[in-house]
Symmetry: C2
Subunit: 320 residues, 2 copies
């Protein structure tokens, strides 16, 4: 649930008047997203998304996020495009927050993942990787391998309150990840948070990628590792190799994977599981009881981590 | 924040196919309203509101609410009109809940109440009262004077944890309200919850009345009592008689008030303050700490009640 900031009518009217998009007809808070306040803004010219950036997003990163989506959408990737104000700016201020208006994308995120969703995701992710290659700004991945042990330490051993023994197990896993993590795989801009609720479909066709607020420069195949975790496990916890194969095959039709990338997939998938496990564990242990956002259960990602630990090679992901 | 129920894509597609409104382009949960789950539904034919009725609404009342808004909007009152499915129904089922699609109203509710808002409100309320007169269904007001003492008793004296002495003070006030409550004032369909967030404006013009889920048959002037409380107090707790006069004058241009109605206003305003004070107090004492909805502070309405208790006559509301 994500509306942290109320906007006064007068402020909104004055803000929107700074764009050439007509009079405000409606503005409703959207109950999606957890980082920012999002509103569905209807003006005489159509529908838009108005975002107020809350404290969890570093304002210094906003030019990267907004520039990236403008770069991508200008080159055919279906993602929200920032609307320029009459003075040329895309990042302005509203109700004391950095704020932007972006284009509205049709489509809905899939609540029940089917094979064809994974194929479309793989294709679109590869197209995004290729298209982002010549984007001029860069942003390091603040949630890559170096950040994981400090995150675990910040949990102060209280992970064992959730599952006895998990702190030691994760420390041992970090030993492996830190020593074996690849450094030289093809790199560029990755989305880094391509969960199903950030991918819109119209029927069987992918219609939008949203929420680029974790986008960064990193190894492309790490994005695949994240999506193997986010899209290819069934609700009962079992891994669906058919979905993984569909995703990877569609990806490779657009951007071929090197042998090194293919061989690294199991380790990248372990790292991706660790990254989401740790942020969820930290949030689980540190969310006040009366918070608006319910924290996600970290143990789902511990089960996924253990699956990838047991994998003997990339064949487990449906690769030949 | 109000999305209590998730809808699967397949269920939504099948549901919307039952209407002649084209393919679903988008469906986003709205972070407004506290009783039901509301979604902004965009189809090839435009924007709609999709509502899933949750447990707090009695399903037996839904034909009254949907029939009333259809009756009113057909006669020019700007309120959501239920869309008929191809089979003629307006009330169907989705994700195990009663569900309806209603038309989308433009406009925004006023965060900062100004005098002109109160005038427009008075006019629209009177038009709604007049227009609802020949609506054929009826629904008793479940939150009228008979319900208040049981509500106070359900608080089990714990109101004194919020403010020492309040239980005795409210019992004494109920003695007055129960013995003096008017019974013979002109009656018909009232909205009974016309708070600012249920009234949309475009610029200075009222563009919509929404959320009829407390609408019922009761004395018209009780709706005025509710709005004296909801619209005419400033944030510092002071009563703004100019706002009250604007509201009442605009109302009387459409529907004249009898002498008995005018004389009853102070008592009706006390009753309205009591009604919202008691439901807020009950919710305050009974909301689990991890609830999605933050309960509203009941003491705001205790201060309003005490203002009306001290009033010596309807002149306090700006009437001549």
């Amino acid at each position: 649930m994500a509306v942290y900031t109320d906007i006064s009518d007068d402020d909104l009217t004055a803000f929107v008047a700074g764009y050439g998009i007509g009079e405000v007809l409606s503005c409703k808070g959207i109950a999606e997203g957890v980082e920012n306040s999002n509103f569905l803004l209807v003006t005489e010219q159509g529908s838009f998304i108005l975002t107020l950036y809350e404290k969890r997003v570093d304002a210094n990163d906003l030019p990267f996020f907004l520039g990236l989506t403008e770069h991508l959408s200008a080159r055919g990737i279906p993602c929200p495009t920032p609307v320029h104000a009459l003075n040329g700016e895309v990042l302005r201020e509203l109700s004391g927050r950095p704020a932007a208006i972006v284009t509205f994308l049709t489509g809905m995120w899939p609540k029940r993942i089917q094979n064809h969703h994974c194929a479309e995701l793989g294709r679109a992710m590869a197209e995004m990787h290729v298209t982002g290659a010549d984007f001029e700004l860069s942003r390091p991945n603040a949630l890559s391998v170096e950040s994981w042990r400090p995150l675990l330490e910040a949990c102060e051993g209280r992970g064992d309150d959730v599952l006895p023994g998990i702190t030691a197990a994760l420390n041992a896993e970090l030993d492996v990840l830190e020593s074996e993590w690849p450094r030289d795989l093809p790199s560029g801009v990755i989305h880094a948070d391509l969960f199903p609720d950030n991918v819109f479909f119209r029927g069987e066709h992918l219609s939008g990628l949203i929420d680029f607020y974790f986008a960064c420069n990193d190894q492309f195949a790490y994005d695949l590792g994240i999506c193997l975790n986010a899209w290819c496990f069934e609700r009962d916890g079992s891994f669906n190799a058919t979905k993984a194969r569909k995703m990877l095959r569609a990806y490779r039709k657009v951007r071929e994977l090197s042998d090194a990338e293919v061989q690294a997939l199991p380790l990248l998938a372990r790292g991706a599981a660790m990254r989401f496990l740790l942020t969820r564990l930290y949030d689980w242990l540190n969310t006040p009881e009366n918070a608006l956002v319910t924290p996600k259960n970290p143990l789902e990602y511990y089960d996924k981590l253990r699956f990838h630990q047991a994998v003997t090679g990339p064949g487990a992901y449906g690769l030949d």
